[in-house]
Amino acid sequence: MSVIELQSVYGGYGDTEILHGVSLKVDPGEIVVVIGPNGAGKSTAMKSVFGLLSLTKGQVLLDGEDITNTPPEKVVRKGVCYVPQTENIFPSLTVEENLEMGAYVREDDFKPRLNEIYELFPPLAEKRKQSAGTLSGGQRQMVAMGKALMLEPRILLLDEPTAGLSPKFRGEIFSIVKKINSIGTPILMVEQNAKQALSIADHGYVLVDGQNKFFGSGQDLLDDPEVAEMFLGGGKAVPEASV
């Protein structure tokens, strides 16, 4: 059974419909990447999993359980963690406090998990008493992901984790994503840097105008000339600007 499955969902903000029947799924242990042009509804599709917008049609399933239109605070408790693209840390809290907040819904002792996170992100261990707002962009992203991982989630949703980062950090983030995945957490990720993202993905989706356009394994999509033409700069280098 898929961890997360969107079955032909329709919806948007207010009266503006953005998703016109999007379907996608993430199977256990997978990294799934969603790419597409600006305004294609990539982030919106991800937010729909998290109950951040109201769906008019279609279903969202978590391990087969219907969680359509469940409010975000309940979705978290079901073990789905979401890292937004911006404002994904509490800047005035220290690194450790941020991680603690990530474990807010945990009733048990989260200390062991905290140490695991520090092992995963050694720079954070050094700066645990520093307020998160003073960290560099890449380290903030680590805090954001670490915060989400505190829950030992069933699936991790990442909204453009590399947006605004320099190419050096970008690579670092992708390798972290791979590392998180390798210890067993399935990941659904929206990305602008399609080429790099697809190269670590098990599967990829291409959304255009709120609808599915292409689907395939990461490598298939990279090899697909049409996809390459549209999103990978004709097979050339990935464009610098991500917005």
Binding site: P72, E73, P84, N88, F90, S92, L93, E97, M101, Y104
Partner: protein, 296 residues
């Protein structure tokens, strides 16, 4: 110099700590519930009247009955939240401001109805100050107020730094949206905010009443300085509110010190305007306040 310390600096500090305690509640509701709570001054007044009644019933010192008054004020704040603010939680925020504006007058009229408008006192009589080092005049009453204020400030500090709910409050004042996504129980944080805000408002009011007297419009008089303190410190920054309150209190008192000649620098009639002037200045030059608060 002795005059400056005795009659300008110490009163300023005292007034400042009262503003500071009140401003913490304002700054927290502003950032967590996202609206400027005009009824905050009235929570303060109500708390004082609770304390006054308790003093009448028990005959104890106002500081002794203060915790009970604080609990009553908290209950009031929570029921107001349930009845009047919660139904508007999903409406545009400015509706909440309108509602709080209405509650300000409603609460005051209830106080005036039940307790009447006659002036009251929680601690009658006068206290001669103790002379320290031959020129510092320190009144025991003021020592008590300052000490209690300090205790409360440390309690707030402890709550915000070392408890889960306190950290959640700080997290939510950083970003309510992210707090929700993180799974923080935002309604619980809202409740905690009212608890802290109302309890501190009650304490600030009682301190003021110990220093002066009990009167139905005392809370409203403090509203503008408290807003100014919250904005000066940076909205959503409880420590900022503390500093902001102290600065506003000191500035109000010191503004009429005769720095030049024997006439007050500023006509004391304009004292109440000092807080406002500082606030406007901050809004022009640094809307995020001294401690990088939220700007909406």
């Amino acid at each position: 110099m002795a005059d400056f310390i005795n009659f300008y600096f110490i009163p300023g500090l005292l007034l400042g700590s009262i503003y500071a305690l009140g401003a913490i509640g304002i700054t927290m509701t502003f950032v967590i519930l996202r609206f400027a709570n005009f009824a905050h001054g009235e929570s303060m007044t109500l708390g004082v009247y609770f304390a006054w009644s308790l003093v009448q019933i028990t005959g104890w010192h106002p500081l002794v009955v203060m915790p009970i008054a604080m609990i009553l004020t908290v209950l009031y704040a929570l029921s107001i939240d349930r009845l009047f603010y919660k139904p508007l939680r999903n409406a545009p925020v400015v509706m909440l401001v309108v509602a709080s504006f209405g509650l300000m007058l409603m609460t005051r009229s209830v106080i005036q109805f039940f307790w009447g408008v006659q002036l009251k006192s929680v601690l009658p009589g006068i206290q001669k100050p103790i002379l320290v080092m031959d020129y510092l005049r320190i009144s025991p009453k003021h020592m008590m107020i300052m000490a209690s204020a300090l205790v409360l400030m440390f309690a707030v500090h402890y709550l915000l730094t070392y408890t889960k709910i306190g950290k959640a409050m700080r997290a939510m004042s950083d970003s309510p949206e992210l707090a929700k996504l993180t799974g923080i129980d935002t309604e619980k944080v809202v409740v905690a905010t009212w608890v802290v805000g109302a309890a501190l408002a009650c304490a600030a009011g009682v301190f003021l009443a110990i220093d002066t007297h009990v009167e139905t419009r005392m809370g409203f008089k403090l509203l503008l300085p408290m807003f100014a303190a919250a904005i000066l410190g940076g909205v959503g920054r409880p420590y900022g509110a503390l500093v902001g309150g102290l600065i506003i209190g000191l500035a109000e008192e010191i503004s009429s010190y005769p720095f030049i000649g024997t006439e007050p620098l500023l006509n004391p009639g304009y004292k109440a305007g000092v807080a406002f002037a500082i606030m406007i200045g901050i809004l022009i030059w640094r809307p995020s306040g001294l401690f990088k608060g939220k700007v909406f």
